[in-house]
């Protein structure tokens, strides 16, 4: 029954029913807070898995084609809830951010948070949608304990935005390629609370903190064909909402949730097959794997002549077994008895309002990617630099200070990215500034320091901050480019190592590297390596 539905996260609870009014729980252990660093660590892991499942899926899909559509719920990071003035913060003590309105008490009325409309218009515009100058709210009615009013305030026949699309570039490791996926609609609605089920299953508790939190639901066209396409669609949406600042897009906290519809059909058939809904994926990698699993399952049924076993149902992705399982069969279409929400007036937007938002929009990932691409960067570089707003900003700022695009890209994607990954930091958490990175690049270019010294300085700057100039001076790292000085050092090294010099002369020319190393050591790494090798070569030749 419904009580066993896994709608919220399952949490161990120690509590008793409180005065018949409410179910409360003690503080529950929280999932670790999500940050960008966790994301990048995971991204590395998920790519290899995705690659494997993709290949597996490709083999099985011969003569069949999958059709995938995604409904994404994005929780908006507004200060207050959609229809009351309660704050919301993930992980608060259960039922601590509630009021009579979001608890559905008698006599309470919703009052629309204007920020929700602003967020919806922003995302609608970012998704190239047509914005409705007049839209309205409707009630979607069903009974569930986490739905305080017995209906969800949503938008039914007139969404605030419709008929848009999303452009993205597939990662190079998956063959790359530009894709455009249609967006059917974007609408505003409110979130429900969460059920917390007891370990024994004998009782359940309701946490209404999340009830009334604003959501945008984004419905895609059934344009995706593979798990990776679907996952990248989700990832691009996540980037968009983060770029726009409308949501933290965090999947672990449920701020971004994707419900996926998958069907398969023989290639060439124009009708869609029976679609199955999959829920409970909390990463893009899981989305990709769940879809590829589901495609394989459905194709197998087709091939075994059991296509009738594919029924309209909701399946849950199980991470531990890497399979989908039936959650509930849909007996016909659920009748939500939508009707216009009489407590809220229509949402009427002026074209000035829409224009104002349009003009305040930041540069979006797609535009950024095209711009970076035009700088002559490879798609791999482009994706790395453009896909994280902070990285892109750092990169752009470095260029503004005069750095060469390719060199800046190399530093960011190389040493800086490695450092971030090791230290689990994001680029805006390090002490290095774009200005200093550009200084560093310039110092190497003009020969003040060697590339090797540059790497040392970089680590110093990342960890401790400061300027390139001060670090060079402080550590006396200016490159020795005076031929006389280098010659003196070479002479000294040759004089100090007569045995090796003799071996060199008897034909062991590989020892030039040894001498070079000794000179570099003597110069504390500051000798200009080109000059050093030139002088050393001449000396050895002259001596032999």
């Amino acid at each position: 029954m419904a009580l066993t539905l896994l709608r919220g996260m399952r949490t161990p609870v120690v509590a008793r029913r409180n005065a018949g009014l409410f179910f409360t729980t003690l503080q529950t252990p929280l999932l670790s807070r999500f940050t960008t660093r966790a994301e990048s660590a995971r991204a590395a892991a998920h790519k290899s898995i995705q690659l494997a499942t993709k290949e597996a899926a490709e083999q099985k899909t011969q003569s069949f084609e999958a059709v995938i559509g995604i409904e994404t719920h994005v929780q908006l990071s507004t200060v207050t809830k959609a229809f009351c003035s309660c704050p919301y913060s993930y992980g608060s003590q259960p039922n601590s951010t509630v009021c009579p309105t979001c608890m559905g008490h008698p006599g309470t009325l919703p009052v629309l948070n204007a920020k929700v409309v602003e967020c919806a218009v922003k995302l609608g515009l970012a998704l190239n949608c047509e914005i409705a100058t007049t839209s309205k709210f409707d009630r979607k009615q069903y009974f569930y304990p986490d739905l305080p009013k017995g209906y969800q305030i949503s938008q039914f026949d007139i969404p605030i935005a419709k008929e848009g699309y999303l452009d993205l570039d597939l990662p190079v490791e998956f063959g790359g390629g530009h894709r455009r996926f249609g967006v059917t609609r974007v609408h505003m609605e409110e979130d429900a609370g969460k059920l917390l089920h007891s370990e024994s299953g004998s009782y359940s508790q309701v946490d209404l903190n999340r009830a009334g939190v604003p959501l945008l639901e984004i419905v895609s066209e059934p344009d995706m064909r593979t798990g990776i396409e679907a996952a990248e669609y989700g990832a691009e949406l996540q980037r968009l909402v983060r770029y726009l600042g409308v949501s933290n897009g965090n999947m672990q906290e449920g701020s971004l949730r994707c419900d996926v519809n998958v069907s398969v059909r023989p290639i060439g058939q124009s009708n869609f097959g029976t679609k199955v809904e999959i829920k409970n994926m909390n990463s893009f990698s899981a989305i990709s794997r769940a879809i590829d699993y589901e495609i394989s399952r459905q194709i197998l049924l087709h091939k075994e002549g059991q296509a009738d076993q594919i029924v309209q149902e909701t399946r849950l992705w199980d991470e531990s077994s890497q399979k989908t399982f039936t959650m509930r069969k849909k007996e016909g279409l659920a009748d939500y008895r939508y009707f216009p929400e009489p407590d809220l007036p229509e949402v009427v937007l002026t074209s000035e309002y829409i224009d104002e938002i349009q003009n305040s929009m930041p540069e979006l990932p797609e535009a950024k990617r095209r711009r970076f691409e035009n700088m002559g960067l490879s798609m791999q570089d482009v994706l790395f630099l453009a896909n994280d707003d902070n990285v892109a900003r750092f990169f752009d700022s470095t260029l503004e200070h005069g750095a060469d695009a390719k060199l800046a890209a190399n530093w960011i994607m190389g040493d800086i990215a490695a450092y971030l990954k090791n230290e689990k930091l994001s680029i805006d958490e390090i002490k290095l500034t774009p200005l200093e990175l550009s200084e560093l690049i310039a110092s190497i270019k003009n020969g003040t320091i060697s590339g090797k010294i540059g790497k040392e300085i970089l680590i110093e700057l990342i960890a401790k901050g400061g300027t390139v100039k001060s670090v060079i001076e402080e550590k006396d790292l200016v490159q020795i480019a005076d031929p006389a000085a280098i010659e003196a050092m070479v002479d000294q090294v040759l004089a100090d190592n007569p045995k090796q010099l003799e071996q060199y002369r008897s034909g062991k020319t590989k020892l030039q590297g040894f001498f070079a190393g000794q000179v570099m050591k003597a110069s504390k790494g500051k000798a200009n390596p080109v000059l050093l090798n030139k002088i050393l070569g001449e000396k050895l030749k002259a001596n032999s």
Binding site: H105, G107, L109, P345
Partner: protein
């Protein structure tokens, strides 16, 4: 005026005040010199209780505690037969009155609000923070809200004392107050009869002078019909004029918080306090609120033809089949009274009028089926435990909700169901648009429209309880006004035979959106010049 009603009026002669001419109406021209200043005549002119309380406090003649004690004593005496209240907060009322007296003594009368010492009854579907609020439903037995409804809060801020929560048909669904989950309220004019509904308790409480004024709610006539049945003034403001925040929703697009008083002045005074935009209700209007009371002209300052130039339309469809002849003649008398006051009264036809009732019941039931979903036994109110979720829901709702409410939830659920939506809900909305349009057109030609507030006077308890269609038909005079969102004022205008002293009949006056000021002004003139009747129920005379 046509005389055939004379015989009936004679039956009611004991309700009339001595009049030298035995005429139905005092000649308007004689108003200034009429015996208006005699005590008996003043009573007939529906004096303002609020004004008299204010004057008492100002002169020091009576304290708030004394005034409260007077009302509470009358309440205690009459309540066993009337049963207007689900909850009486007598101790709190006494405490608040004493506190008011202390403040008046130390800081003067200006330190307390304009409604200081005014006892208010509040319909129990309006939330009150320190009192139970049940909506008349067992499913909310013992429920106490965390907040005051905006209308209640504004009254309290003006110094009013909430004396208790009045009885109603469960969640406002009914026309008799027999649909309460707690008790049956009787009509102060005849305790074998219903007070009307759903705001029956609020109407009977004012009628029996258990409180000075009261708040009600009107979704399809729930203020106006009980006002008519109980012989009090009832106002249904324009939709959005008064915040609905804290009103337990029945049909959100029709619900309006309204008020009752024993005079138009009192009703106007209350409206000025409760009306206005509220940020907690997005459907509340920011249209200006005037001091309605100050626009009312006292009787002795009235011109001889105070309604000169005014055009009044009497709705043809409300004086036909199914309407008691006594009611029709009362309304026609009222119309001729309005004519004598200088207005032009003509019959007007609203072709879509008869469509309003079925459209209303579809829309109201549809919204109700949604609004009442929150009473699920999960978070508050009565919970019947079950082995699974459906048992918990089913048990709690089957046990907590009454018959009429269940019936409307079922009807509304049906009307909103896939495949039926277009035939019912959508069509009803189209009818609503037609009704609005026909009212708008009529109100372009006439300043106000008048009609009865109900097709009959108060009927017997139990008479229609098993005949919902007959009960629904009783709403035919009022539902169209809700569909159109218009303001309407009901003022007692006469009597029909029944009970020991006749049964009151109210005249409904309908105006354009936000024309409450005009309705109250006309209603006040009508009331002040209607000299032959007293609308104090026999219950009070008996003691």
């Amino acid at each position: 005026m046509p005389p055939p009603l004379q015989a009936q009026r004679l039956l009611l002669s004991h309700r009339r005040l001595p009049s030298p001419h035995r005429r139905r109406f005092t000649a308007v021209s004689s108003l200034p010199s009429s015996p208006a200043k005699t005590v008996a005549a003043a009573a007939a002119h529906a004096p303002s209780s609020i004004l008299s309380i204010r004057e008492s406090l100002l002169s020091g003649e009576r304290t708030a505690a004394e005034i409260t004690a007077e009302y509470l004593s009358r309440l205690r005496r009459t309540e066993p037969s009337v049963r207007s209240f689900i909850h009486v907060a007598d101790a709190a009322a006494e405490r608040e009155a004493e506190e008011l007296d202390r403040r008046i003594a130390t800081e003067g009368l200006d330190a307390v609000g304009p409604l200081a010492g005014v006892l208010v009854g509040v319909k129990d579907n309006l939330c009150t923070a320190n009192m139970p609020s049940t909506g008349g439903s067992r499913i909310l037995d013992g429920y106490q809200p965390a907040y005051d409804a905006t209308a209640v809060r504004r009254l309290r801020e003006a110094g009013a004392i909430v004396v208790g929560k009045t009885n109603l048909d469960e969640f406002g669904m009914g026309s008799t107050t027999e649909g309460s989950g707690f008790q049956v309220t009787t009509n102060p004019w005849d305790d074998s009869r219903v007070p009307g509904g759903s705001s029956g308790g609020s109407a009977s409480a004012v009628s029996a002078r258990q409180c000075v004024v009261s708040l009600g709610s009107d979704t399809g006539g729930s203020v106006r019909q009980p006002a008519s049945f109980c012989g009090v003034v009832g106002l249904k403001p324009t939709y959005g004029r008064v915040s609905r925040f804290g009103l337990m929703a029945y049909a959100s697009s029709l619900d309006v918080v309204g008020c009752f008083g024993s005079s138009v002045v009192d009703t106007a005074t209350i409206l000025s306090v409760i009306a206005g935009h509220d940020k907690m209700d997005s459907t509340s209007s920011s249209h200006d609120v005037s001091d309605y009371k100050s626009e009312l002209v006292p009787l002795d300052l009235l011109e001889s033809k105070p309604l000169n130039g005014m055009r009044i339309g009497i709705i043809q469809e409300t004086l036909g089949e199914g309407v008691e002849t006594g009611v029709i003649s009362s309304i026609k008398d009222a119309a001729s009274h309005l004519e004598q006051l200088g207005s032009v009264v003509e019959e007007v036809s609203l072709p879509s009028f008869s469509l309003g009732l079925p459209a209303y019941y579809i829309l109201a039931s549809s919204e109700a089926s949604s609004n009442l979903s929150r009473y699920d036994g999960i978070r508050y109110g009565r919970q019947v435990s079950g082995d699974d979720l459906n048992e918990l829901y089913g048990g709690s709702r089957a046990n907590g909700l009454g018959h009429e409410v269940k019936m409307r939830i079922l009807m509304g659920t049906y009307a909103l169901s896939a495949g039926y939506y277009d035939a019912y809900y959508k069509r009803a909305q189209q009818v609503r648009t037609l009704v609005k349009k026909s009212f708008k057109e009529a109100l372009e030609r006439y300043d106000i429209l008048v009609s009865p507030a109900a097709p009959s006077a108060a009927y017997k308890i139990g008479e229609k309880i098993n005949d919902p269609l007959a009960m629904y038909a009783g709403d035919t005079m009022t539902v169209n006004v809700n569909l159109a969102g218009l303001p309407a004022l009901v003022v007692p205008c006469g009597f029909v035979e029944g009970g020991s002293a006749g049964l009151p009949v109210g005249l409904q006056m309908i105006g354009s959106p936000f024309s409450e000021g005009n309705l109250l002004r006309i209603g006040h003139i009508f009331e002040q010049t209607l000299q032959n009747y007293s609308f104090v129920p026999p219950l009070l005379a008996e003691s």
